[in-house]
């Protein structure tokens, strides 16, 4: 057996480490810069003095965002949509994916084709809006949750994952007297944690970032926070072209940075906890075991 620490290997590893650290810095630096800008004094920003450390610590940008009417309510809404939407989505997707993973089921192929068809062709904005409003969902929080309960892409990932679970386990359970619902709940779902965590994260990120559906279906008091933040970012950048209310233009960039930090931080905090499932779920989902 060859020793691992040969000269060539050490050089190779060092190169990999250097490249990795560079890539890491490349990803981190914009974020650190934004954090610094969001915490700096406007004068320092205008005079181009800010690099990676805040100059003249200043929380004005955050203060301004937090004092926006209904900001915290909107944040609460977003958390509700993210948690509620993800739960509904996981339940609905699992319930749909399980039967579709059974090739013996009559009509499974047709249903699969319809899923794929609807993945590529959708009705478009106005038919969707008409559908949702005729179902009486507009102006209710369900408009945010129900239409997105099943995402075809996630569904296919989950179907593939379910297919990879050995049928012998289910057969044994059947013989032991379990029904299909119990098999799904007690055996298949616990075995599919990585896949569920993966699509759960996908879905959570989708609901966290989704502002457009909130805009078109909901009333002001139900808006998710992303819509507020989008308004702040776009509102401040539009100043340049419009008359009036421009004294804040000088700190537009610090507000924008603060918005980015405020809106991405929760998802970034969540990510490390799900990361291990994420990698596992994706690889297992795509390669049949």
């Amino acid at each position: 057996m060859k020793r691992y620490h040969t000269k060539g290997n050490i050089i190779f590893d060092s190169i990999i480490y250097v490249v990795m650290i560079l890539v890491l810095l490349l990803c981190l630096m914009p974020f650190i810069y934004m954090l610094a800008v969001s915490l700096s004094d406007p004068n320092a920003i205008i005079n181009n003095k800010v690099s990676f450390f805040p100059i003249g610590l200043n929380f004005e940008a955050y203060k301004q965002i937090f004092t926006y009417p209904n900001f915290f309510k909107a944040y609460g809404n977003t958390i509700f949509y993210t948690v509620g939407g993800t739960l509904i989505s996981l339940i609905m997707t699992s319930l749909f994916a399980y039967p579709l993973s059974k090739t013996v089921l009559a009509g499974q192929k047709v249903a699969m084709k319809m899923v794929v068809f609807s993945m590529f062709f959708s009705g478009g904005l106005i038919p969707n809006y008409l559908l949702i409003s005729n179902l009486g969902l507009t102006g209710t929080r369900f408009a945010m949750l129900l239409p997105f309960a099943i995402n075809q892409f996630n569904l296919i990932i989950l179907i593939n994952f379910f297919k990879s679970i050995p049928t012998e386990i289910e057969e044994a359970a059947l013989i032991d007297g379990l029904g299909y619902f119990k098999i799904l709940g007690k055996i298949v779902v616990p075995l599919s944690k990585p896949a569920l965590a993966t699509i759960g994260l996908y879905t959570a990120v989708f609901f966290w970032n989704d502002w457009f559906n909130g805009l078109i279906y909901l009333n002001t008091s139900q808006f998710p926070v992303m819509l507020f933040l989008r308004n702040i970012v776009n509102g401040t950048s539009m100043i340049g072209d419009a008359a009036g209310s421009a004294d804040k233009a000088t700190i537009a960039i610090s507000i924008k940075s603060a918005v980015i930090i405020t809106s991405t931080l929760p998802i970034i905090i969540l990510y490390p906890f799900l990361q291990k499932y994420f990698v596992k779920g994706l690889t297992v989902g795509s390669v049949k075991g």
Binding site: I46, N231, T236
Partner: protein
């Protein structure tokens, strides 16, 4: 196969059911039933009526976030016996939400603020999605009176669509403001003993002097994009190809004497204009980044650090900059329009702005007449106009010898009267203020601003009217569109080449004109003149 067939059949049934639901809701304005029902409501009108409930779309700007407890809002509800339900929609997505509500007719509010019938709204209006408010002139006495008072009948008539009806009540201005223009470092002029600029040649001398002292600088910069510079300066050369210029033609200009369009992009005026910019560029006096969108932050940086000393921007953008600069004695000032070969002019401005429209479903309300009358009162009556502009007498201001005196809290605020009124009380919001009287507005600004506006007003027709928009039918609009795009592209490419010296105005001008003529600029111009309508 059978299963598939039945599935397809079932899907078709569900789809047709859904689309039938949609059709059912398609709004239709039936004037006869409307006026009948409104008559009956009029007879039962009593003094102790319940407040009229009005659902209203409001376009929200992040710099002036809407608050439903603003004094203006609560007071308007009390004054006019109305219960507003504001739907506050972010400005960036306002058009999308309005478009969806009007396109589908579902969940449309009773009233939409801050819209015009330009673009998509025009075809929506012609297809029956909006109430032709000009048909209900008897319900809008305050609006009519304002139009007459400001002498805007002609201007308002021009807002009619191809069917001869007007679908919104625009906001009205008696005299347009000179709210932005040439802004430069007054402290530099004083230090060098230079006079305030009156002509573009004076500006050249000032920029040159600054460049001599600060070789690293590009003295003249712009904000947002070159279009702002173009539209604020071109009129002094008798042309205007900016967005406020020739109704978005991009290459035509309006001849105010002959009252017709002419191909401004290949006129002598434009040749002189572009030569001037090319001269500035060649001598390093014009920001080479001007072709790119320069955002507020970058612009502030350039101005505050002395990388630039002159710009075209808006007056209220000066304040923040002056406070932020670390240069000793840094002082910006706005100057009246400079004189070019065609006199001193600023970008043309309209005396009407975005305003109020009523979705078709509103006309189906039993109390439609009351809704329109209330809206007319809230926004166009004298009490309403004062409320949205100044706030409540005794709280935000008092009248002394016929003069407006603002509360001490406003006068002494760091943000100034105008901004404080906006943020704390909701006054002066473009969305809700429909009546703009220049003299009244000027009381909110500092003396300097009022002085500049006075100077500009005294100079005569500095701010010209916006040229008329031709009334195209769909086919002509398409013809014009087909001609417009390549003309504009070519114009842009050449403008950039002329300014940056890649092409010489002296030697390549004829080739440029030839190319524009090959792209049929004359025919494009003729289409515009042939469809002016009156």
């Amino acid at each position: 196969m059978k299963k598939l067939l039945s599935l397809v059949l079932m899907m078709t049934m569900v789809m047709s059911l859904l689309s039938a639901c949609g059709q059912e809701e398609t709004p239709e304005v039936n004037k006869a039933t409307v006026s009948e029902s409104s008559k009956s409501s009029e007879t039962t009108e009593t003094e102790n009526q319940d407040p009229v409930k009005i659902r209203i779309y409001y376009s929200d700007n992040a710099t002036l976030p809407f608050k439903d407890d603003w004094l203006t809002v609560t007071e308007a509800e009390k004054m006019f016996n109305v219960d507003f339900e504001f739907e506050v929609i972010p400005i960036a997505d306002y058009a999308t939400k309005v478009s969806l509500a009007l396109n589908t007719g579902n969940n449309a509010p009773d009233v939409v603020l801050y819209q015009t019938t330009k673009g998509e709204n025009a075809s929506l209006a012609l297809n029956g999605a909006l109430v032709p408010i000009s048909d209900y002139a008897e319900y809008t006495p305050n609006f009519n009176a304002r139009v007459e008072e400001f002498g805007l009948q002609d201007v308002v008539d021009k807002l009619e669509l191809a069917d001869g009806k007007r679908y919104y009540m625009p906001s009205l201005f008696d005299i347009p403001f000179y709210d932005g223009g040439l802004i430069l470092r007054e402290d530099f002029l004083e230090a060098e003993g230079l006079e305030a600029p009156k002509t573009f040649d004076d500006l050249y001398v000032i920029l040159k002097a600054y460049k001599a002292k600060n070789p690293d600088s590009y003295p003249l910069t712009i904000l947002a994009g070159p279009r702002v510079l173009y539209r604020m300066t071109m009129p002094s050369y008798g042309i205007s190809v900016g967005k406020n210029g020739a109704s978005g033609t991009n290459t035509l200009s309006w001849d105010y004497e002959k009252q017709e369009y002419f191909p401004g992009a290949i006129s002598e005026g434009y040749k002189e204009y572009i030569s001037y910019l090319a001269k500035l560029y060649a001598e390093g006096l014009l920001d080479p980044e001007m072709a790119e969108p320069i955002d507020g932050d970058l612009w502030s940086q350039k101005m505050a650090t002395g990388k630039a000393m002159a710009t075209y921007a808006y007056y209220d953008q000066i304040g923040g900059l002056t406070g932020a600069s670390t240069i000793d004695g840094f002082k910006l000032q706005m100057y009246p329009s400079l004189e070019g070969t065609a006199g001193a002019h600023h970008q043309p401005k309209s005396k009407t702005g975005s305003g109020i429209m009523f979705p078709a479903a509103t006309a189906k309300r039993d109390d439609f007449e009351r809704v329109v009358k209330t809206i007319d009162q809230v926004f166009f009556s004298e009490e309403g106009a004062k409320l949205w502009c100044l706030g409540v007498e005794g709280v935000t201001y008092t009248m002394e010898d016929g003069k407006i005196k603002y509360a001490d809290e406003l006068v002494n605020s760091a943000e100034g009267v105008y901004k404080s009124l906006q943020i704390n009380y909701g006054c002066g919001s473009d969305v809700t203020q429909m009546v703009w009287i220049n003299e009244r507005e000027m009381t909110k600004y500092d003396e300097n601003y009022a002085r500049i506006n006075g100077e500009v007003a005294a100079m005569g027709d500095v701010i010209q009217t916006i040229p008329p928009t031709p009334m195209f039918d769909d086919l002509t609009a398409e013809d014009a569109g087909v001609l417009q795009t390549p003309l504009f592209d070519t114009f842009e490419v050449w403008a950039d080449a002329f300014i940056t010296g890649k092409k010489s105005v002296e030697t390549d001008w004829d080739a440029y004109v030839e190319e524009m003529k090959t792209l049929r600029i004359d025919e494009f111009c003729k289409i515009y003149n042939d469809n002016l309508g009156n």
